[in-house]
């Protein structure tokens, strides 16, 4: 990755309790969450977080409840201040910002979408969508056009004069997304934005976000505890556990090479055929024309290749990316990739 990170988190620590600074040295010396709680009655929220968030892509932060996801994302716009460490946005340490500069960051450079929507119940849909310009001092007349444009884009034509309580949950979250888009900020923070929605509506919203992202290329930081959602949205995946980063990188890599039993557990239950792409399992290099029976795209899901091959494990396909042949996919390799690597049989499994 050669691009400068849009947001860089450096050696970030967050300790909750009556006197975090007093116990920070012990945490720096490696004291864990449980010990800190038992001996000093402080909660270790985040420990030595280092993450680079690339511009124009979706970074998903995933972890079980209580792993510190919400705490981490709230450091990016300083809804929470760290006990120690830096957060760089466009190369500037936002912890050096004064109140005024911080407000500017929140009004123009970052926007946020919340799990429970957090719309203003006494304002119309239009006024909610225009919250960022309104906070910056624009009148409703001035921001109406922009707000209406984004409301239409998320599929809420004609709802401008409704109040939030008149809309369904899915529609309310569309307002939440329109509100974030109307701010015209490069960065969008989304804390479990779809977790409160029904599965079907959730899928719709994920598709909407993918569409928007293909068009707008925002820097999105998306939090979820759902691996399927993470894999669907992520360009870059960060996995948190008990306040530290267990593994981060390209989702396909993490899936194929989990670095930790915690992640192996996490990824063991998903349908890999629906998540892995051809490029992750192909053999790179020269294609032997005689051995292949057809061409497939590097970004195809394995599932579609299985359908294409009708389950014949003897076949090979040439893999094409941007018009050029880049490798060969052996269906045998594909089948092997469908079960987690190096996984001993259940009977031999040792604790």
């Amino acid at each position: 990755m050669t691009k400068e990170p849009k947001i860089a988190i450096r050696n970030l620590y967050k300790i909750f309790g009556s006197d975090p600074q007093s116990v920070l040295p012990m945490v720096l010396d490696g004291m864990g969450k449980t010990e800190l709680m038992e001996k000093h009655r402080h909660v270790l929220g985040l420990s030595d977080i280092n993450v680079d968030i690339p511009p124009g892509e979706t970074t998903v932060i995933m972890g079980l409840p209580g792993s510190g996801k919400s705490t981490l994302i709230r450091h990016l716009n300083r809804l929470i201040d760290p006990t120690s460490g830096e957060v760089l946005v466009n190369g500037e340490n936002i912890l050096d910002y004064d109140e005024k500069r911080l407000r500017q960051l929140r009004q123009h450079e970052m926007s946020m979408v919340f799990q429970k929507f957090a719309l203003l119940p006494h304002r119309t849909v239009l006024q909610n969508a225009g919250m960022a310009p309104a906070v910056a001092g624009q009148s409703e007349r001035a921001y109406a056009e922009e707000a209406r444009k984004w409301l239409n884009r998320v599929g809420l034509e004609g709802q401008e004069q409704q109040y939030p309580h008149q809309l369904s949950g899915g529609m309310q979250q569309r307002v939440g997304i329109a509100r974030a888009l109307t701010s015209n900020s490069d960065i969008m923070l989304m804390d479990e934005a779809f977790s409160a929605l029904d599965p079907l509506i959730r899928t719709d919203m994920q598709d909407l976000l993918i569409d928007l992202q293909a068009e707008l290329h925002k820097t999105i930081v998306f939090i979820t505890h759902d691996l399927d959602e993470a894999l669907k949205l992520a360009n870059h995946l960060v996995i948190l556990k008990d306040g530290y980063v267990v593994q981060q990188g390209e989702p396909q890599d993490i899936l194929l090479n989990p670095s930790d039993p915690y992640i192996e557990d996490f990824v063991s239950d998903i349908n890999r055929a629906r998540v892995l792409r051809v490029r992750s399992v192909m053999a790179k290099g020269e294609v032997d024309d005689a051995a292949v029976v057809g061409e497939i795209d590097a970004n195809d899901m394995l599932e579609s290749v299985i359908a294409l091959s009708k389950g014949d494990t003897g076949l090979n396909y040439a893999v094409v990316e941007d018009g050029a042949r880049v490798g060969t996919l052996h269906i045998k390799d594909l089948v092997r990739a469908l079960v987690p690597a190096d996984r001993p049989d259940e009977g031999e499994r040792v604790a």
């Binding site: 009004q107 429970k116 929507f117 957090a118 203003l120 906070v135």
Partner: protein
């Protein structure tokens, strides 16, 4: 018991000693209250009934959007006028308007200050508890020493001290109960403290604040009767006359007038409250 006599005498002496100093400060500060009460009393009585009743109906309609309620208000005042209680009713109403307005004027900011700081809240709660539990008659005693009985502010202060508590409490509560997620969103979009207070916290606390206003009005009505003991005009005077000279009829009918007034004020403020609730949920 000599001890108890010593104590009461000591207290009395102490109060008399600081009285003059206190009067120098409190007298000018509270003078506007006397003016406001006098003006309101004059205005409400000088306005002829055929202007007053439509105005009251209009106010009712404006806050409740209910024609039925406006009609009910007209009916009640018509009845009170019919039994020749119109002037007394207007006097009581004038006092309540002024006192409730001042309660809101001071109570809401005090409630906001309490909601923003746990320290202020901790300091205020015992004071509010005391104001609420002290028997209303007890307020009157030191006030009688401080001001002459002919001054309207004497009963004005007594009513305000007694009735201001609920609006303070419910403003504090209402703001503290505002959804933390919405406050977080306001912060995340860079609102200033001021924008948050006027754009989010007060509007969302409004149902609770209005419930406080309703209670405040009810309590001023209760106190305005007691305040007749210290020259407050209005229906309370008739109740007192009923008690003093054992005029059973006067006492009962004026009691009925107070009940009618209570019902009207309660209905109108509750209707306003219901409208706010309906627009938010």
């Amino acid at each position: 018991m000599p001890q108890s006599r010593d104590l009461t005498r000591g207290l009395e002496q102490g109060f008399l000693d600081i009285k003059d100093g206190l009067k120098v400060v409190v007298d000018p500060l509270t003078q506007p209250l006397s003016w406001a009460l006098n003006e309101a009393l004059w205005l409400m009585q000088a306005t002829p009934w055929w202007i007053m009743i439509p105005v009251l109906m209009l106010i009712t309609w404006a806050v409740s959007r209910s024609v039925k309620l406006a009609g009910f208000v007209a009916l009640c005042f018509g009845f009170l006028a019919f039994i020749d209680f119109y002037d007394y009713t207007m006097q009581t109403l004038a006092i309540i308007f002024v006192c409730a307005f001042i309660c809101v004027l001071f109570g809401v900011p005090i409630g906001i200050a309490m909601s923003r700081s746990d320290k202020v809240q901790r300091a205020m709660i015992p004071v509010l508890d005391m104001l609420q539990t002290l028997p209303p008659f007890v307020y009157l005693i030191p006030l009688i020493f401080l001001f002459s009985v002919t001054e309207p502010k004497l009963y004005g202060i007594a009513i305000i001290l007694y009735a201001i508590v609920p609006v303070i409490r419910l403003t504090d509560l209402g703001i503290r109960l505002v959804d933390a997620d919405v406050i977080e969103a306001a912060d995340a979009f860079g609102m200033t403290k001021r924008q948050k207070l006027f754009g989010v916290q007060i509007p969302l606390a409004l149902p609770n604040i209005m419930a406080g206003v309703n209670q405040t009005i009810m309590m001023s009505l209760a106190m305005v009767v007691i305040a007749s003991l210290v020259s407050a005009p209005g229906l309370g005077v008739l109740v007192l006359r009923g008690i003093r000279s054992l005029e059973l009829g006067v006492g009962l009918v004026s009691g009925l007038g107070i009940v009618l007034l209570t019902i009207i004020l309660d209905r109108v403020t509750k209707a306003a409250l219901a409208r706010i609730n309906a627009s938010q949920n």
